[in-house]
Structures are given as structure tokens and as C-alpha cells.
């Protein structure tokens, strides 16, 4: 009890946290007084050793990690719990969504998914002029940034070219806000080149949107999908109970044999153990907390347990592969050498097989299986590269890079990201990026994200921070929850050298107190 009191006091007196951030951390401490969902002793040890990482979701899951409300359904049917009638015009629709957003739970406390916003609002445009839409959306965008100050808050546009998508890109370039994070769903057969070009010009200014391969992602889902948080693709009207990730570097350290025995033994054992943790946490949320029986989103059909699954993530593939190569007496590395790339591919395919073979409860959203996800890392990952990324600073030229990673992108129905780095000169020639994106998608990439050197916005992984916010945070705290996480990432991974970066979330922050 004394220990809890100390932790609470530390939060209460931390001048770098605002009131809401303190409340979030206090809740985390309260949750930590509960016993962890029942798992084996070995799995508990693996969690303690951070071999398996639950991304600081907390001891007692009382809300799903990722919730993707079916906003279209809500708009059509209204929300009784919030006493909201279906909107009849643009203003009402924006007001409706603004209210609903605040109610959507997540690990960070802020909704990770705000909908495919252009599609949602197109029905309400009526005879509004583009300028009127612009003025209304600008206020909406400011509302989102100020009330949901977390870089994991994610909104989608596309794949159709439309007035709202274009206005949003224009607003993004003007307001230069961190929130919301943005994804453009892109399909060469549907999306116009002009919209993709607009998107690229926007990336030059604010390092977003990400461009998602719509065709590939759609084929992985029964219904509609959304891109949320850090490149996670999940079913709309559902989401993911939890995301547990396996540290491939650490399990390679524990393994004493060659690559073959790693794949058949150690890898399999720890994948199963990770799936055990996923199962235990999912059951706790569904059976003990009864979240899906009690939350108004579920009760009113805005989400449904049937559209949920869980996420199996991993990180540190590069370090795992390089170490196994070294042990076999070969100085070959992932991203550079064919043999190392082949081993990486083999490991990923094996993991995918293991994940797909395990039937999990409450995972109907993905036919009873977990979504496979290359997790893009968090600030504590000092020795491990994000997901299946090539280590920062070792990336080969862009074509080799794409040709190395594209062949495994299809495996990750739960999402994957690689970040490509371009020199400032590309600003004068945005159609160059259009060429590369089209080529990358042709080669089978799922998601394309790029950064410019010396941009005001820095992409840590899936989320953004402003350079100035980082600087300020170190001095006096930040309005954005994610800035702290990013500051740690910067310190740990030298983001100014950035070619690609790591993930963030508030829960890790909480665990510090």
C-alpha cells in the first residue's frame, strides 16, 4: 500500500502532466492493484522479462485496446445512450460525431479511430459550397486536435476522390496539427492520380497521410476496415481486444541452437505463449469485465463482439535474423543480403502459420484467429528494430528496400509499416513520390509512409510529433500525451538521423509511476 501511495503522489506532483494526463495515470495505478488474468508461470516470467510485451495495457483489461465504431451505422440510427437523433445536415453530423468520439474507449483514453470521414460526411453535404465545407471542417479539425490530443487518434479518407478528402488535405497543410493522424486508402483503379498528388504534397508539409494499399487490405477483411493508431488495420464495427507483442531479439538470445531449431522450437514455444496471454486477456475483458455486454456502443450495435479479434505482434526481426546468421558463421544482415532476407521471410511465414493455426475465443472478427501485426515499436525498444523493419541507418536504396520488404507485406492482415526517407528536393517534384508509391504497391506493399529530412513533423513510427513540441516537452510538458513517448524515442533512437522510427502510447508513460 505504501508503494501505491508513493506512485500516486509522484503522479499528483508531476508538473509535466496536466490534469487529464494525471487522471489517466492514476487509473493505471489503480488497475495495477488487480491480479493479472490467469496465465502460466512461464508466461508471467516472459512478461516480466519483457520477452513478451503487453504494451502496458494494464493488469485488468476493462476496455478493448482498439475500438472502431461503425460511425455510419450510428449516424443512420442515432445513439440512445447519448440522446442523439440521426443528423439531417452537415452541421448536425459533425456535432454528432464530435460527441460520439469523446465516448469511445481505448488504452490511451482517446479514440484511435474517427472513421472514414469523407465517406461518412458526403451524404450530408447537400448544396454546401466547397468554401462552406472548408470552414466547417476546419473548426471540426481544431476540435479534434484540442479535445483528443493524442497522436494515435487516426482518421481515414479515400479511396474515392471527393471534395471532402481534398478539403481535408488542404486543412491539414494549413493547420499543421499532429492530430488526427491520417490515412488515405489508395486503389489505382479508384483513386485519382490528382488526389494521390495532393496527398503527397500534404505529406511534405505534415508527414501525413499514410497511403494504404486499399485493394490488398480490403481482401483481408469480411467487411469494411479502418486504419487506426499506428498502421493497424482492423474491422469497422469491431476492433481488437488486445495487442501482445513478442520480442524476437530476446527469444533469439535465449535460444542456443541454429536457425532451424529456432524456428521449430524456441519460436514456436514463445508464439504459443504470446497467444496464451492474448487468450487470457481477451477472456478477462469478455467474461469477467463483460465489456461487450455492458458498453452502450455494443448494446446499440455500433460495435459487435463478432467483429472483434485480437492482435499478435512482434518486433526485433532484424536483430533476430542477424544473430542467427552470425551464429552460423555468416556476417550477413537483414536488408542487405539475400540469404538473411530469406531467413527473415521464413521466420515470418512460420509465425503466420502458428498464429493462423491457433483457434482463439472471441476472435470471430478474423474467423477465430488473431490478426498478425508487425508492431512498430515503442520508446523502450533500444536494442530492437520495429516489427520487420530494416534497422535505422542500414536501409538500402529505395528499390532494394521495397523489393526486400514487399514480399512479406501480404502476411500482415493486422498491418505493417516501413518508412522511406526522401530528401527535401522531392518537394519540387511530388509526382516522383506518386511513381514510387505506385511501384511499391505493384510489388505488394501494404502501406507506404515517408518522411522528409528536416521536416517540422517527425514520424516516430505510426504517429507524429512536432519538433517544437519535443523541445518544449523537455522543458515544460506538452498538451499531447504522445510527446513524452516521442521524447523518449528521440533520446533512445536518435530521431534526428531518422530514416524510420518507433511507436508510442500513453500506457508506457503510466507504467513509470
Amino acid at each position: 500500500m505504501e508503494e501505491i501511495k508513493d506512485r500516486v503522489l509522484q503522479v499528483l506532483t508531476d508538473g509535466n502532466l496536466d490534469y487529464r494526463q494525471k487522471k489517466h495515470h492514476l487509473a493505471y495505478i489503480a488497475e495495477s492493484t488487480q491480479d493479472y488474468p490467469v496465465i502460466s508461470k512461464e508466461a508471467t516470467e516472459a512478461l516480466n522479462e519483457k520477452i513478451i510485451c503487453d504494451l502496458f495495457e494494464g493488469n485488468a483489461p476493462y476496455r478493448p485496446r482498439y475500438v472502431l465504431p461503425d460511425y455510419a451505422y450510428a449516424l443512420k440510427n442515432g445513439v440512445n445512450y447519448l440522446e442523439l437523433e440521426p443528423p439531417t445536415n452537415f452541421d448536425e453530423a459533425i456535432n454528432f460525431l464530435s460527441i460520439l468520439y469523446i465516448q469511445v474507449p481505448s488504452i490511451t483514453g482517446y479514440s484511435v479511430y474517427l472513421g472514414n470521414i469523407d465517406t461518412l460526411l458526403l451524404d450530408y453535404v447537400g448544396d454546401l459550397s466547397e468554401e462552406e465545407i472548408y470552414n466547417k471542417l476546419k473548426l471540426f479539425w481544431r476540435f479534434i486536435d484540442r479535445t483528443l490530443p493524442d497522436a494515435f487518434v487516426h482518421i481515414n479518407i479515400g479511396p474515392e476522390d471527393n471534395a471532402i478528402a481534398r478539403v481535408i488535405l488542404r486543412i491539414e497543410r494549413e493547420l499543421k496539427q499532429v492530430v488526427p493522424n491520417l490515412t488515405l486508402k489508395y486503389d489505382p483503379e479508384i483513386t485519382s492520380d490528382e488526389l494521390l498528388l495532393e496527398a503527397n504534397k500534404t505529406v511534405f508539409e505534415v508527414a501525413k497521410p499514410h497511403i494504404a494499399n486499399h485493394k490488398m487490405t480490403t481482401s483481408d477483411f469480411k467487411g469494411e476496415y479502418g486504419v487506426v493508431s499506428c498502421y493497424n488495420s482492423l474491422p469497422v464495427g469491431g476492433g481488437s481486444h488486445t495487442l501482445i507483442r513478442l520480442n524476437l531479439k530476446k527469444i533469439t538470445d535465449l535460444h542456443s541452437g541454429n536457425a532451424e531449431s529456432f524456428i521449430s522450437g524456441t519460436l514456436k514455444k514463445y508464439c504459443e505463449m504470446t497467444l496464451d496471454v492474448i487468450e487470457a486477456r481477451s477472456k478477462y475483458l469478455v467474461e469477467c469485465v463483460k465489456y461487450y455486454d455492458t458498453d452502450f456502443l455494443a448494446k446499440e450495435g455500433i460495435i459487435s463482439l463478432d467483429n472483434f479479434s485480437a492482435m499478435f505482434g512482434f518486433y526485433g526481426l532484424a536483430e533476430c535474423v542477424n544473430q542467427l546468421m552470425k551464429r552460423s558463421g555468416k556476417e550477413l544482415s537483414y536488408g542487405k543480403d539475400k540469404e538473411a532476407n530469406q531467413l527473415a521471410h521464413l521466420i515470418l511465414e512460420e509465425m503466420k502459420k502458428i498464429v493462423d493455426a491457433r483457434e482463439l475465443p472471441y476472435c470471430k472478427g478474423n474467423n477465430g484467429k488473431a490478426f498478425f501485426h508487425a508492431q512498430s515499436g515503442i520508446d523502450i525498444d533500444i536494442e530492437e528494430s520495429a516489427g520487420a523493419r530494416i534497422p535505422i541507418g542500414s536501409e538500402p536504396d529505395i528499390y532494394t528496400h521495397i523489393n526486400t520488404v514487399a514480399p512479406h507485406h501480404h502476411l500482415f492482415n493486422g498491418g505493417i509499416s516501413d518508412i522511406f526517407h526522401f530528401d527535401e528536393t522531392v518537394k519540387r517534384n511530388p509526382s516522383a513520390i506518386v511513381d514510387i508509391i505506385k511501384g511499391a504497391f505493384k510489388k505488394g506493399m501494404r502501406m507506404f509512409t515517408f518522411n522528409l529530412s528536416n521536416g517540422e513533423f517527425i514520424r516516430i513510427t505510426g504517429y507524429l510529433v512536432r519538433r517544437s513540441d519535443l523541445k518544449e516537452f523537455r522543458e515544460e510538458g506538452s498538451r499531447y500525451g504522445s510527446a513524452l513517448f516521442a521524447a523518449n524515442s528521440m533520446d533512445n533512437a536518435n530521431v534526428d538521423n531518422r530514416v524510420s522510427k518507433r511507436v508510442i502510447s500513453n500506457e508506457q508513460v503510466a507504467s513509470k509511476y
Binding site: 536504396d397 529505395i398 528499390y399 521495397i402 526522401f422 530528401d423 528536393t425 522531392v426 519540387r428 517534384n429 509526382s431 516522383a432 513520390i433 506518386v434 511513381d435 514510387i436 505506385k438 511501384g439 511499391a440 505493384k442 510489388k443
Partner: protein
């Protein structure tokens, strides 16, 4: 396919600064101008097997192959210190290699999904007009490549007839004007500019001039009368031709030209104003 070969000093598979979109750029060896501020002076000359580089190489990575009349370069031991380039009396390089049309096509095929087109550059690429003709024809006939745009980056110092057969195959030419006054042009490049001016006029008439660039070099081409002549020339071509004012940068130029000075902000603004006064939409880089 033809046995014709060309000396290729390098290929960049992704460039965002050599025309619209992402492009593969093929650099040809040998130039017919000798600009003081040339940043790639090792692409000006051809190797005459004098052996100076072989003797200078600190890692003994170069060797004369007298039978085949070429320099053998050992990539495994070479540290790319570029001392060989610094000492070459011919402004040449031991690194360029002979390639056939077929060789270049196979390089393009590797990256075809990622590019809008190709740009051929130099050196002075128009010295290889017959080779270019074959290369471009091959691209236009190839099922997987025919959609690619083709741009030529040239100094324009070439006879009109060299352009003629290439124009139907290409999308445009990006061209420099180093100076309007023949005397100044000779000071900067070692040669007069009659052919360059004719090329500009000819390509503009044929609607193939894509970009016209002017490199501002203080003490040479930055006095008001020279700038007004350049502005007049730029105004005389189609408004669709991109115009660019480039600040001469003195990094990477040869030691004997280290006296060249970069324009300061005031000088750049002075030049820019002259173009703006002439109602020219010009990009400054």
C-alpha cells in the same frame, strides 16, 4: 540489337531532380564544353590510357588493360577516395564503362515499375545521338517500357541535324544557357554559343524545349546588360518552357577554378528582379 556501344559514366536509378516524376538517369561520358563550374569535370574527357591514375591509386585498385584499351577497376579494394579523378589530366575517369543499348534496356527493366521515365544526361549526351536514336527506338518498341517519357539534358552545343531524328522519340529537352554574349560564353565554357542559341530556337519551334536554365556566375554573367539579354531570350520562348535561375555552387568544382564565387542574396535578388520585370515566371534554386 545493334553492337553500338556508348561510354556510360553512371546510372542513377531514382532521381527526383532530372525532370517530372521519379526518373532513371543515364550519364554519358565526354563533353564538348569545359565549364569552369562543372561539378562533374571527370565526365568531360575520354581516357587515353596515360596511366596517371594507375600510378596514383593508393590501394592499387587500377590496372591498364592495354590489349582491350581500358582501365581495369577492382571494386573490392577501391575505397572510392577519388584521387584518380583529381589527378586525371584529361578530366576523365577510370570508372566509366561501355554499354550497349541492350545493357541499358535491362537496367531500365529492373526499375520500370517505379519510374515515369528516363533522362539522358552527361557529359554532353548529344555527342551520342546515333546511340540515343537506337536506345529510344528500343524503348518505344518495348511492351513494358513504351509508356516511359524520355528527356534529354543537353548543353545545346550541337548541330541542328543531330536533333532532327530524335525529336519524334522524345518528350523534351532540358537545356542550359550559360551566357548570352558569345565572349562571356567562351570565358565560362571555353566555346562560343552560336549552336546553343540555335538549338534553343529550333527546339522551341518544334515544341520540344522543356526547360531553360541559367546559372548565375558572379563576375561573369551577372551584369545588367547580360541579364537583360538572357531575360529577352527566355521571354522569346514559349511560356510553357520551364525557366530556372540556378545559383552557381562552388563545391565540387576543380581546384583551378576555386576563385569562382557564389552569388550572395543581393546578387540573386538583382538577377531575379530582372526576370520578374520581364514578366518571366522563373524558379530559383
Amino acid at each position: 540489337m545493334s553492337k553500338l556501344q556508348a561510354n556510360i559514366s553512371g546510372i542513377i536509378k531514382s532521381s527526383v531532380i532530372d525532370g517530372p516524376g521519379n526518373r532513371m538517369v543515364i550519364f554519358f561520358q565526354e563533353c564538348n564544353l569545359n565549364c569552369m563550374y562543372c561539378h562533374n569535370s571527370h565526365t568531360i574527357g575520354l581516357c587515353n590510357l596515360c596511366g596517371t591514375c594507375v600510378d596514383t591509386c593508393p590501394t592499387n585498385s587500377l590496372q591498364i588493360d592495354s590489349k582491350n584499351k581500358r582501365i581495369i577497376h577492382n571494386e573490392n579494394t577501391c575505397t572510392r577516395c577519388d584521387e584518380c579523378l583529381n589527378v586525371c589530366p584529361e578530366n576523365s575517369s577510370p570508372f566509366y564503362k561501355q554499354m550497349s543499348v541492350e545493357d541499358i534496356i535491362s537496367e531500365i527493366l529492373e526499375v520500370k515499375d517505379f519510374i515515369s521515365g528516363i533522362t539522358v544526361s552527361g557529359g554532353e549526351v548529344m555527342l551520342h545521338a546515333p546511340f540515343l536514336g537506337l536506345l529510344f527506338q528500343e524503348i518505344k518498341l518495348h511492351y513494358d517500357l513504351k509508356h516511359l517519357s524520355i528527356l534529354i539534358d543537353s548543353n545545346g552545343n550541337i548541330e541542328q541535324e543531330e536533333w532532327e531524328s530524335l525529336l519524334p522519340l522524345i518528350d523534351g529537352v532540358m537545356l542550359d544557357i550559360k551566357a548570352y554574349s558569345a565572349k562571356t560564353h567562351k570565358q565560362i565554357t571555353g566555346y562560343s554559343n552560336e549552336k546553343v542559341l540555335k538549338s534553343i530556337e529550333y527546339l522551341n519551334d518544334k515544341n520540344k524545349l522543356k526547360e531553360l536554365r541559367f546559372v548565375l556566375t558572379p563576375n561573369y554573367n551577372n551584369d545588367e546588360s547580360e541579364l537583360r539579354e538572357i531575360a529577352r531570350l527566355m521571354k522569346s520562348v514559349s511560356p510553357n518552357v520551364g525557366k530556372t535561375l540556378i545559383k552557381m555552387r562552388n563545391h565540387g568544382i576543380r581546384k583551378e577554378f576555386s576563385f569562382l564565387r557564389e552569388a550572395n542574396t543581393e546578387e540573386m535578388n538583382f538577377a531575379k528582379n530582372i526576370f520578374v520585370q520581364a514578366d518571366i515566371d522563373i524558379l530559383e534554386i
